[in-house]
């Protein structure tokens, strides 16, 4: 069980002179839900297409179960894909779409019918066999696409932003649904999305990508609580990122004063990025604050208020359930545990 089901080793890919992937290494464990997360153009879809066999890497190797599949065409791989725009066959009905892969495997009619019925049950589309795919809603088409891929019992299911075209409410429902399906069939899901919330709520492992490189791989908790660099911190949830320096271990300097923190191992007076989540800044009365600031704006966000508080030249984004009035002065309090110190990313 320790052998990862898919291994990408030193994979690079170049499209007409632009590097889509730069020397990627990635391990995908058996039966996990792994999400490739990143802004558009970060190489996440390219990575998925390389696993699916639709693109060949320029350098590097893809291993499946320990064997190289780098040069294997898509139809010989034990993975199936759910495409971004579903890619259902418009000239076939729902049952024919789902049976496509089974017919190629030359299973007998009875088995095919049974499997198609089971697959439709799995995605909650019982009785949709004879429907025309173009008459289905986006969510239903999505389920058919998932059923069509899963019915072939792949060892890995690749999903390329499958919920991207759905509206918010449907998307939330499908997130729960996908997680349920993954548990039910118990196979590896590799999921591509640019939606960090989706990634955090569904995945066992998240790989954050940017500019063709993997920035950080870890559980959603690790990625959120211990982002490796300012990019990850900023991309995963909202963050205040300010420049500062480490005076010594466990003591940082930013926003015009010293702060106790829990990070060590930086050079003395090393320039660093300080990352603080907006919900980790506590609002206190003016006298008790570590920093004093003036409330510039207040926006109601449902559960909390989002406030911009100006203090010694820095605009802090603060999430709090306590509403403040605009232009009032408040104190800000940040606990050592909530201060994340990161090495400065040197942009090339």
């Amino acid at each position: 069980m320790t052998e990862p089901i898919i291994r990408l080793v030193n994979v690079s890919k170049d499209y007409n002179g632009t590097e889509a992937l730069k020397d990627i290494n990635l391990y995908i464990k058996r039966n996990e839900f792994l999400t490739l997360l990143g802004p558009s153009g970060c190489g996440k879809t390219t990575t998925l297409r390389i696993i699916g066999g639709f693109e060949k890497p320029d350098t590097g190797d893809v291993f499946f179960d320990g064997k190289s599949i780098t040069n294997l065409p898509p139809y010989k791989r034990r993975v199936n894909t759910v495409f971004q725009r579903y890619a259902l066959f418009p000239h076939m009905n729902v049952a024919e779409n789902i049976a496509f892969g089974l017919k190629i495997k030359k299973l007998d009619k009875k088995t095919i019918n049974k499997k198609v019925t089971e697959a439709l049950e799995l995605v909650n589309l019982k009785g949709f066999e004879k429907r025309d795919v173009e008459s289905l809603s986006g969510g239903e088409q999505q389920r058919v696409a998932i059923a069509r891929a899963l019915v072939n019992e792949p060892e890995v299911l690749l999903l390329d932003e499958p919920l991207g075209a759905l509206d918010l409410k449907l998307r939330k429902g499908m997130q729960v649904e996908l997680k349920r399906i993954q548990k039910a069939v118990g196979i590896t899901f590799v999921y591509v999305t640019h939606d960090q919330e989706e990634a955090l709520s569904m995945s066992d492992t998240v790989a954050v990508m940017k500019d063709g490189k993997i920035q950080q791989v870890g559980t959603p908790e690790t990625i959120y609580n211990e982002p490796k660099n300012a990019f990850v911190a900023d991309f995963i949830g909202e963050s205040n990122i300010v420049s500062g320096r480490m005076i010594k271990d466990y003591l940082a300097y930013f926003a015009g004063r010293e702060f106790e923190c829990v990070d060590a191992g930086f050079g003395e007076n090393e320039e660093v990025d300080i990352v603080i989540r907006p919900e980790d800044i506590k609002l206190v009365s003016e006298g008790e604050g570590m920093l004093i600031g003036e409330v510039k704006s207040v926006t109601f966000k449902g559960v909390h208020y989002e406030m911009i508080i100006q203090s010694s030249g820095i605009s802090w984004m603060v999430h709090s359930t306590l509403m403040q009035t605009v232009n009032s002065r408040v104190g800000l309090c940040i606990l050592p545990n909530d201060i994340h110190i990161m090495k400065k990313v040197i942009e090339p």
Binding site: P73, P74, T81, A87, P90
Partner: protein
């Protein structure tokens, strides 16, 4: 509703150049001029069933069907190749295919006459290789060759355009589900390109069944297809009534074949040219 005055010039144009000639055609088809004046008659249409004329119809339709089939057999693979990943970004191949169409149709057909002659360059080469000479000028084969050569682009282009518009991820999905190239071609690409095939067939069949230039040049002076027959009635025999009747019958044949194709085409997705 506000009247749109810009429409009127087009309506006038259509009346003068489309509706009026059609009415004239109908008028000539069903009338005859005698000493007592103009009379209604079905005689011209009946004459079409004379074996001598009927066989011309059959031969025209037969040759047009053969040419259309050959165009489809050659044209479909060409369209697939032109639309494939390797060539779709390279417009030169498509351009090379279209360039002959920029040259006059008559010139190209005359060129074939020279190529198929007794002492043509082709036969000189065959002679040097001690092979029997190619003697097809003034036969059905030469006429079919001329039709295929001239009308092939009309088969390739509609199929090519349907293939280019096809969602590539559908093809990838079929590969992903285990289909090798031939399965994908048979089960996905060909069924989804039916509208293009239908347009191609129509666009080749219609000019092929009505041509009189190709048959005159490559079939020889006495070669008769419907087109030649119509031309002869108007220009040589001076029998406008019978000439109109043949044209009328030909129009009916084309309309029937188009509606059959259109009905068949509707079962698939739209996207045809007409």
């Amino acid at each position: 509703m506000k009247k749109n005055w810009f429409v009127y010039p087009y309506i006038v144009w259509m009346i003068i150049f489309i509706v009026a000639p059609l009415l004239l055609l109908l008028f000539y088809s069903f009338t005859t001029t005698t000493d007592e004046g103009i009379k209604f008659t079905l005689e011209h249409l009946r004459r079409l069933w004379d074996p001598i004329y009927f066989s011309v119809f059959l031969r025209s339709i037969n040759l047009a069907l053969i040419s259309t089939a050959i165009c489809l057999l050659i044209g479909y693979p060409v369209a697939v190749i032109l639309a494939s990943k390797e060539y779709s970004s390279n417009k030169i191949m498509t351009l090379l295919f279209v360039i002959p169409m920029w040259m006059n149709f008559l010139l190209r057909t005359y060129a074939w006459m020279t190529l198929l002659e007794k002492n043509s360059p082709i036969n000189v080469i065959l002679n040097l290789l001690h092979l029997p000479p190619l003697q097809i000028l003034y036969t059905d084969k030469a006429v079919v060759l001329g039709m295929v050569y001239n009308f092939l682009p009309f088969m390739v282009l509609p199929i090519y355009s349907v293939l280019m518009k096809m969602d590539k991820s559908i093809i990838e999905a079929a590969e992903d589900l285990g289909g090798n190239y031939f399965v994908v071609l048979r089960k996905i690409i060909i069924p989804l390109s039916v509208p293009g095939i239908m347009s191609g067939i129509t666009m080749v069949f219609m000019p092929a069944v009505t041509t009189f230039i190709i048959s005159r040049l490559l079939g020889g002076g006495h070669y008769m297809l419907i087109g030649n027959l119509i031309e002869q009635q108007f220009l040589v025999a001076g029998d406008w009534n019978f000439g109109s009747a043949i044209s009328f019958a030909l129009m009916i044949i084309i309309l029937i074949s188009m509606s059959i194709m259109h009905k068949y085409d509707k079962e698939y997705e739209g996207g045809a040219i007409w």
